[in-house]
């Protein structure tokens, strides 16, 4: 029996593909919480995420453990180029998802698509309804993917490295968007990434995975400033430092500026 304030509950999950790739992990996601799962390649973080909605690749199956989900789930994928149908206008894709979720007619679905495009801050949303994925920039495509995830009115948002393929300036905008949406819509979120800094920007709690197991979990700030497990320490140690950015010098007044 799951408590009503729990969105996701994973117990002793084992995923196997001839050998176990996720080997007995357990964690909870509370309603409204943003949990980050970090790890390197082969840690099993993506597979764990996908198992929540049974979206496992062929050859990988859940052989033990349980996953309980309370609420509708939407998923934001990593690569917008493969997540979107290249032959269909993006407005139609989002409308189709909305129709499927709400069972409305075409006109209502189109209106909902427009509403979603506005929600994800897509510039010139009306024009974008008829645009094809290749006509959009990387950042715009990813916003469409977020809109697609929201089209089903989810209560839980799963994000699989949603900004890894994006430029750093675009990444910042998409992360801000995800944060704002989460607050506004009260979503629970599970965010998978290999980038500790990215995850710390969005999530309040962290789970660190290695080779199919959870090695550490805790509040984001606690894990990042005082890591307990040697592997977490190693990951943090490997993050290259960036010097502190100075504040920009004030613009000197120029003639005719009107400054007094």
């Amino acid at each position: 029996m799951m408590a009503t304030d729990q969105a996701i509950r994973v117990r002793d999950l084992v995923l196997s593909a001839r050998v176990p790739v996720v080997n007995g992990i357990s964690f909870d996601v509370a309603r409204g919480e943003a949990v980050g799962i970090v790890g390197e390649s082969g840690s099993g973080k993506s597979l764990t995420l996908r198992s929540i909605i049974s979206l496992l690749p062929t050859g990988v199956t859940q052989t033990a453990g349980s996953i309980t989900v309370q609420g509708r789930v939407g998923m934001v994928f990593q690569d917008p180029l493969t997540a979107l149908d290249p032959l269909m206008p993006v407005g139609r894709q989002v409308a189709a998802a909305s129709r499927f979720a709400r069972g409305t007619g075409r006109k209502a679905a189109r209106a909902r698509a427009l509403e979603l495009f506005e929600q994800v801050r897509l510039p010139d949303p009306v024009a974008k309804l008829g645009a094809y994925p290749h006509q959009l920039s990387g950042g715009q495509r990813q916003r469409v993917v977020v809109a697609l995830a929201l089209a089903t009115d989810p209560e839980i948002l799963l994000c699989d490295e949603p900004t890894t393929a994006l430029d750093v300036t675009v990444q910042k905008q998409v992360l801000e968007l995800l944060g704002q949406l989460r607050e506004k819509l009260g979503l629970s979120m599970v965010f998978v990434s290999h980038d500790l800094a990215v995850v710390s920007a969005v999530c309040t709690r962290l789970i660190v995975m290695r080779d199919g197991q959870i090695v550490e979990t805790g509040d984001t700030l606690a894990v990042l400033t005082a890591p307990q497990h040697p592997y977490t320490q190693k990951l943090l140690g490997a993050v290259l430092a960036l010097p502190v950015l100075g504040t920009p010098a004030p613009i000197p007044p120029s003639p005719g500026n009107g400054a007094v």
Binding site: R18, G42, D211, K234, G237, A238
Partner: protein, 293 residues
């Protein structure tokens, strides 16, 4: 805080994903197709090589009174219309046909692979010209060309070698060109050129080993095709000439007796089929063994 340098690593630290044998020989041993194919081919080759010792009779020795005898203790597969021992003839015919097929396969293989490499690597006009040459040759039905060439050059072995040298390279060129074009853009090709290596070196030392597996598998199929063509030419009287035994002429000669002494045609036919199967299995098996990762 910087991470410590990675200590020297002993290889192979097997990456988690890769299961299965890592060397060519290991994979080869695990391929039942290859093992069976090699066994069958070995048997074939041994019987051809040792035909003079294995054959109970001289294949050309006629015995006009003992013609068309059914299989017996003395003649295990019977005799043909001229009293010659069928078993001996099949063994010696195999010797002839296999020799011709293997030899005739060499020149097309070498020429075809080289043209394919050059065509795929350089592209441009050279590729275009070779492509048009390929199109021209392919436009003609195979047997029409082969028979025409044999008519022009003369029947017998010589004609067969010339015919296949002129026509047989096309299959390799198409396949090798396609793979070479695909590999041409690889990082390691750019690295080889960037390292100062010449075009020739890159083609022969870097690209060739990567396309060779595919080409050798095709070679197996081509040998079978050549074998069948040799037999067909023999059947039509345009190939190996009497008295040299040849499966094709044997099939032709046995035609007249197909209703009564059906084995005279069927047994050489089976020999051809057996050859085809063994080489085909070897080709498939090699493909299995060469698949890296």
């Amino acid at each position: 805080m910087s991470a410590a340098s990675e200590p020297p690593v002993t290889v192979p630290a097997p990456p988690a994903v890769r299961t299965g044998p890592q060397t060519f020989l290991a994979r080869a041993r695990r391929s039942p197709t290859l093992m069976v194919g090699l066994a069958m081919t070995l048997l074939l080759l041994l019987s051809a090589v040792f035909a003079p010792w294995l054959a109970p009779f001289d294949p050309s020795a006629q015995n006009l009174t003992g013609g068309l005898l059914p299989p017996s203790a003395e003649h295990l597969l019977g005799t043909d219309q001229l009293g010659r021992d069928v078993l001996s003839r099949i063994l010696f015919a195999g010797r002839t046909d296999l020799r011709i097929a293997f030899l005739a396969a060499i020149v097309p293989f070498v020429v075809g692979v080289l043209l394919g490499l050059v065509s795929g690597y350089f592209g441009g006009t050279l590729d275009y010209l070779i492509g048009r040459l390929v199109d021209t040759v392919i436009a003609f039905p195979f047997y029409v060309i082969v028979i025409s060439i044999v008519f022009a050059v003369g029947t017998g072995e010589g004609g067969i070698y010339v015919a296949f040298a002129l026509v047989g390279w096309v299959g390799y060129t198409r396949v090798v060109r396609a793979t070479t074009t695909a590999l041409r853009g690889s990082g390691w090709v750019a690295a080889a050129r960037g390292g100062g290596l010449s075009h020739g070196r890159v083609i022969l030392r870097h690209l060739l080993p990567n396309i060779l597996p595919q080409a050798v598998v095709l070679l197996m199929t081509e040998i079978i095709l050549i074998m069948v063509a040799v037999v067909t030419l023999g059947y039509l009287g345009l190939g190996v000439q009497a008295p040299t035994p040849d499966w094709g002429t044997m099939i032709h000669d046995g035609q007249a007796f197909i209703t009564t002494k059906w084995w005279l045609s069927a047994l050489p036919g089976l020999a051809v089929i057996y050859t085809g199967i063994s080489l085909s299995l070897v080709g498939d098996g090699l493909g299995d063994a060469w698949r890296v990762r």
